[in-house]
């Protein structure tokens, strides 16, 4: 095997003084033709900057390679040092030799050109095709990435396609040039887990077929297990550990690698569920009965109601004191709408939500996903924490301040935080502030809507620990909304799986995650990456989520349930 790419002592800096603002501080690696290297790290590790340096796109983001060499073996057999190449030479390398796909499929395609035009452009630039030949090539590329109805889809604009479809279009564009190296920068992070599995399967398949080398960048070390040959772990701009996949995963040498493998939540099919708490005998504190939330769809000139989006359609569950009930599902499943209905942020179309009067006037509080958006940037922490109390008619006095300090210290912050503003805290600290705020009125129930999803993986682990501690100390019940099965496994006593606005399976966490019964739950759990599943053969599955728009007057058939075990219910599937 010949070496395709050799990176030696790479340093990359930003700003006016790149030498003093280095983000990548001396990274070296080699990549053989046809092999896959995974670069793993959290935000700020320099993993993306390293990747963007390989095709010098880093220049356009204000970065500068300050030291080191990047040697690429070109298709014609010559070698080129990319750090020394000029822009015209780089333009011939980009696309033709090195293809790239990005994290954000929603913004990575040009909104004003059809996807066909964008794929054709790649064929024109890299293969010199034009006219009908380019169109035909574009159609074939779309077919190859398994987009149904390819000839029609060529005329679509990006906003008319789902995230998963757009990422396939990106891949089709890369295929235009048959590159020998593909850089994939977190290509599945913004996607649902079942869609992620489809994209991973596609990448694995194409890599085999085209004998393409790949640099795969991710924050999820579990995802790497399925696809990489080699692995490089980065932290603070340095490669702390690199080697063969099995060696690194089974016998990590560096503390940080061990931390990523052990402390960070990884999915283990229900073997890591909590063994504490959760008492099924007591009466529920929140009862949700036949909840439906529908948003009207208006059509035509006179806004006649033509139907409704059935976001939540007949959901029942009980939340018991002191337990964590996780609601899992993918985007559009209705899990967040359910949470928002419980808090009264959206109006329930039908159904009953009953919260027992608890320790305070507002027994249910909520923590939101985005710690940056859920704290008013113009208020001090003191004002932020005081808000629930003011709303409840309390006075801001010494006693209230005492409670603020108590809660701040309880969530791991100090008293001097009171006079500071949100932007002076990190994402994890902000989420701690949100938790403290939610506890100000001593609630019985906290609804956590994707509360750790926006955080870096190692911060995630610590916030989860905090949540479990607080649950014990204050006797809290959590309704934990999440798309992340690994996180859910760590915190849930019971799990409810939502799909297309309905709960399809609910029960003890170990049972639902370990022995799923419903076909959707099975598919979902099979798609979750896990360290133990090495070089997995992902199968390409193109199941689409059904439309939630229903005609006026539509009522779903009454759900029938079967008991799959003690405290484990599964919705009976209608055979089509």
């Amino acid at each position: 095997m010949s070496t395709l790419l050799g990176v030696h002592d790479l340093h990359v800096g930003f700003g006016r003084d790149p030498q003093d603002n280095e983000v990548v501080k001396g990274v070296s690696f080699e990549l053989a033709a046809g092999k896959t290297l995974a670069i793993v790290g959290e935000s700020g590790s320099g993993k993306s900057v390293t990747a963007l340096s390989v095709n010098r796109l880093v220049d356009f983001g204000g970065g500068r390679i300050t030291r080191g060499t990047i040697t690429l073996q070109r298709a014609d057999g010559t070698a080129v040092d990319i750090t020394a190449a000029d822009e015209p030479a780089l333009q011939r390398i980009r696309g033709r030799e090195i293809g790239m796909i990005f994290q954000e499929p929603m913004t990575s395609l040009n909104p004003v050109h059809t996807v066909g035009a964008q794929i054709e452009e790649a064929f024109r630039l890299n293969r010199g095709l034009g006219g009908a030949a380019a169109t035909r090539a574009a159609r074939e590329a779309l077919e190859r990435v398994r987009i149904p109805d390819a000839a029609q889809r060529l005329k679509y604009y990006p906003h008319q396609l789902s995230g998963g479809m757009r990422q396939r279009v990106m891949i089709a564009m890369v295929l235009a040039s048959n590159p020998r190296l593909l850089i994939a920068d977190e290509p599945t992070t913004a996607l649902d887990v079942t869609v992620q599995a489809q994209i991973m399967a596609l990448l694995a398949e194409l890599r085999e077929e085209l004998d393409m080398a790949m640099i795969f960048i991710t924050h999820d070390i579990g995802l790497v297990a399925g696809i990489a040959d080699d692995i490089m772990v980065m932290q603070h701009g340095v490669a702390v550990e690199q080697g063969k996949l099995d060696a690194v995963l089974d016998n990590p040498q560096h503390d940080y690698t061990r931390h990523l493998l052990k402390a960070v939540p990884h999915f283990t099919s229900g073997r890591a569920v909590r063994s504490d708490g959760g008492s099924p005998a007591v009466a529920p504190i929140v009862t949700v009965d036949n909840l439906a939330v529908r948003f009207p769809v208006a059509k035509g000139l006179f806004r006649r109601r033509s139907g409704a989006v059935h976001a939540v359609d007949g959901v029942d569950f009980d939340l018991r004191p002191g337990e964590t009930l996780a609601i899992v599902g993918e985007s559009g499943s209705g899990k967040s709408t359910t949470a928002r209905a419980i808090l009264g942020l959206v109006k329930a179309t039908r159904g009953r939500i009953e919260a027992k009067a608890g320790r305070s006037g507002r027994p249910v509080q909520m923590v939101f996903q985005d710690p940056y958006a859920s704290l008013n940037p113009r208020l001090t922490v003191e004002a932020l924490l005081a808000e629930p109390a003011i709303a409840a008619g309390q006075r801001v006095d010494a006693k209230l301040r005492q409670r603020m300090v108590f809660l701040l210290e309880r969530v791991g912050l100090t008293k001097d935080a009171l006079s500071r503003y949100p932007h002076q805290f990190s994402g994890g600290q902000r989420q701690r502030l949100c938790i403290a705020r939610a506890l100000m009125l001593n609630p019985d129930v906290v609804v956590l809507d994707e509360a750790v999803s926006a955080l870096d993986v190692s911060v995630q682990a610590r916030v989860l620990e905090l949540l479990i501690d607080l649950q014990h100390e204050f006797g809290l019940a959590y309704l934990f909304i999440s798309h992340d099965m690994a996180v859910v496994e760590r915190i849930a006593h019971r799990v409810a799986v939502m799909y297309a606005g309905q709960i399809v399976e609910i029960g003890k966490a170990a049972a639902v995650l370990g022995a799923p019964q419903h076909s959707y739950t099975k598919r979902l759990i099979a798609a979750v990456p896990a360290i133990e599943r090495r070089r997995q053969h992902f199968s390409v599955d193109v199941t689409q989520v059904p439309s939630l728009v229903r005609p006026s007057g539509f009522e779903p058939p009454a759900a029938r349930w079967r008991e799959a075990g003690e405290d484990h219910r599964v919705r009976v599937e209608e055979v089509a």
């Binding site: 009264g344 859920s374 709303a391 705020r437």
Partner: protein, 279 residues
């Protein structure tokens, strides 16, 4: 204070602030009578003199000192600008805020009314109001105030709508915070940054409109010195004494430039995107 320091670090902010400060000082001195000459007194023997040690910017057809008149003219222009922008900013912000908050029908009604006002060119709308009220300082203030109200309504409405959907407003609802608390603490407080920029730029537009009105003879009335009037009077004497046109022209331009530069600097400083880049 942090904002002021940031403005002084910004190159165009520094220049803009310096120009405005200079003009404010000149206007204040003019207002308390600290002018080199009496701006209304006619030095009959010294008519149409060029710039000199006695008359720094020369004299006009009636022998009045141009520099002294400019000092008063700046004062009047600034007074009209500040007063009219205060009206426009207050009315427009409240309209935009409530349109965004109430939404639905109210949003439609309020914003369509603003669209109606926007359909008239600024000078024309001002002319119409002058026709109703008769020219004068108060008319100019009302007219310009009304002209720029819809702009503030739009500037306030867009971020107010965005803020309304932000998670901290949703969080406030889950606590049961009052509408007044949410409107003042969560919306208005966060509107200050975009409004500061618009206020500064609106001061520039309002100077432009005011001097245009008085240039057409429909703003401040003579003998009160006004930049637009002075410029209009200079037209017939342009070839003989170009400085009569040059100095008022430069003064208006500099004043507008000052606010434009400051507005640009404030936009750079307060723009969340540049803040993120710096962080």
């Amino acid at each position: 204070m942090a904002l002021l320091r940031a403005v002084m670090r910004h190159p165009s902010g520094r220049i803009g602030a310096a120009i405005i400060a200079l003009f404010l000082i000149l206007a204040l001195m003019g207002a308390v009578g600290l002018t080199p000459h009496d701006p209304l007194k006619q030095f009959v023997v010294d008519r149409m003199k060029g710039p000199s040690g006695t008359y720094w910017f020369g004299t006009d057809l009636l022998g009045r000192d141009t520099f002294s008149r400019l000092m008063l003219g700046i004062g009047e222009s600034f007074l009209i600008a500040f007063a009219s922008v205060a009206i426009a900013a207050t009315a427009g912000t409240l309209i935009g805020l409530f349109a965004a908050w109430w939404g639905h029908l109210w949003d439609g009604i309020l914003m369509r009314i603003m669209d109606v006002l926007l359909a008239f060119p600024a000078i024309l709308l001002a002319l119409l109001i002058v026709a109703i009220q008769g020219p004068g300082v108060m008319t100019s203030i009302t007219a310009i105030g009304i002209v720029y109200t819809p702009i503030f309504a739009r500037v306030a409405r867009a971020p107010a709508l965005a803020l309304k959907a932000r998670e901290f407003v949703e969080a406030a609802r889950t606590f049961g915070s009052t509408q007044r608390y949410i409107l003042t603490r969560h919306l208005l407080l966060n509107l200050i940054a975009p409004l500061t920029v618009t206020i500064t730029l609106a001061l520039a537009w309002s100077l432009l409109t005011e001097s245009g009105l008085s240039f057409l003879g429909l703003g401040s009335q003579p003998p009160a010195p006004s930049l637009g009037v002075m410029l209009a009077e200079s037209k017939s004497m342009m070839t003989r004494s170009p400085w009569l046109m040059l100095f008022p022209g430069l003064t208006i331009m500099l004043a507008i430039l000052g606010f434009n530069l400051l507005g640009d600097a404030l936009r750079d400083i307060l723009d969340p995107r540049t803040q993120e880049r710096r962080a």
